[in-house]
């Protein structure tokens, strides 16, 4: 599974770099290193949804520091 995190300027300003490291921490914490990778992506085309996150070819979600754990549990843990 690939978690694509937008690092385009709009998302970058909303803290996408921190979202990436949070995801990496969560993946380690749950021991999913060989199943899930986090990748930086350029614009996903929905700048209003900053920080834009897309799992594989799925829909684009808006993730922030407050909802990242719920998002991870619902979309990554369940599927991986």
């Amino acid at each position: 599974m690939v978690i694509n995190v937008c690092v385009g300027s709009a998302c970058h300003l909303k803290g996408s770099y921190n979202i990436i490291s949070k995801f990496e921490d969560l993946i380690k914490e749950y021991g999913l290193d060989d199943k899930v990778v986090v990748k930086a992506a350029f614009c996903l085309g929905q700048c209003t949804k900053a920080v834009s996150v897309k799992i594989d070819d799925g829909p684009i979600s808006s993730v922030n520091e407050d909802n990242i754990i719920d998002f991870f549990k619902a979309n990554v843990l369940k599927e991986a």
């Binding site: 995190v5 300027s9 709009a10 300003l13 996408s16 770099y17 490291s21 350029f42 700048c47």
Partner: protein, 486 residues
Amino acid sequence: MERKFESDVQLIKYEVLREVARGAMNGNLKEKIDEIPYIIDPGPEPRTRCCIYKEREITKERIKLAMGGNKENKNIVEVIDVACDKCPINRFFVTEACRGCLAHRCSEACPRGAIYHVSGRSYIDQNKCIECGRCKEACPYNAIADVMRPCRRACLPGAISMDENKKATINNDKCIQCGACVIQCPFGAIMDKSFIVDVINILNESKHNDELHVYAAIAPAIASQFTYANIEQVVSGIKKLGFYDVVEVALGADMVSLHEAKEFSETVGEKKVVTTSCCPAFVNYIRKYYPQLANNISNTVSPMIAISRLIKHIDPYAKVVFIGPCIAKKAEAMEEELKRDIDYVLTFEEIAAMIDAAGIDLESCEEVPLNNASYYGRIFARSGGVTESVAHIIETKNIDIEFRPVYCDGLKECDKALKLAKVNRLEGNFIEGMACQGGCISGPASLHHAPKDKTEVDKYGKLALEENVDSSLRVFKIEDINLDRK
């Protein structure tokens, strides 16, 4: 708002680019092409030339260059023959200010006996004159004028000469494609080829093709360019043209400084002197005039290539268009070993023409941020920036190496340093070379040249969200990207 241009040369070039872009955008360039000279030179009075017919003829030639120019000619810079006809052939002549004095310092100074005196006035026998300029220096009335052709004066490598019809002609073997003649010719008779039509076509295609993402990679020299709108509005305008995303080339510069510092520390022991490789005209200059130093050119790619490789690594559907102030970059993009990395190069002049052709009003555009790179990547746009960035990396990474930079502002200074390096007399081990004086912000395809441009770049650098190279690159797996030229 009415665009302001530095001269009518810039204005006319812009108008041609804008009309060609408009035709390409509307898909009717072929049909409209004959109308463009009438739009630009409506007549009946000529704007700059002897008659309206000649003006339109010159415009036709400009249109050809705006559409890619002569494909047979590998040089990105071309002379528009029909526009080159106003310069005097002889470099020195005696003006009205000559008082016909008794001292005759002019003829005393002339090593060839080329000066003669008739009815109380001096004259130069042009068949004897060797253009040494000693008469001009000697005259107490400053009566001798040096009217060297501006293109020749601008061309330090001496690639421009006159052909049998007294037109400027470029020797491609000597030319480093820096573009200095393009901006210096007061008649706009030398112009760079444009890929504006190719870019518009690919943007059009990307509208219907989900597997084609056209990225705009913007050089940090943008900081001093669009004085009538802020950078965030320019970015928004560029996106409206159909680009998938706009990315800072300065992020590529961050990658370059990191790689450059590492390469420097590993190779300087053996090479003694390493030069930068960001400025393609400087690189060309070394290759052509100091071939014995070719191995001293850093093997690190330029920021343009670095950002392009990063984008393509992340997005396999990416095509990358570099947008900057530089003509030599167009030539760099055509180099055999780099051709696949970067797809097209546009200049600030060309992007401004595209924005206006599309009817995008920058001042009313919403603001879209452009912020990925660090301060250090952004200051690559001015002289001394690369040196500062590499020094920063060496210092913060505690790399144990003696860093003695010599930074050369403009081709003249580059030549001095290279001369010394050739004979192992350079007081330093790192040469930063920039062909344009002031750095990229003074590039020949900049819309705006002014002393305060440097301050603008530094100001822009300080607005970077990421403090340094490590933080701007921390989310990218840089080690996966090849940053070697070969």
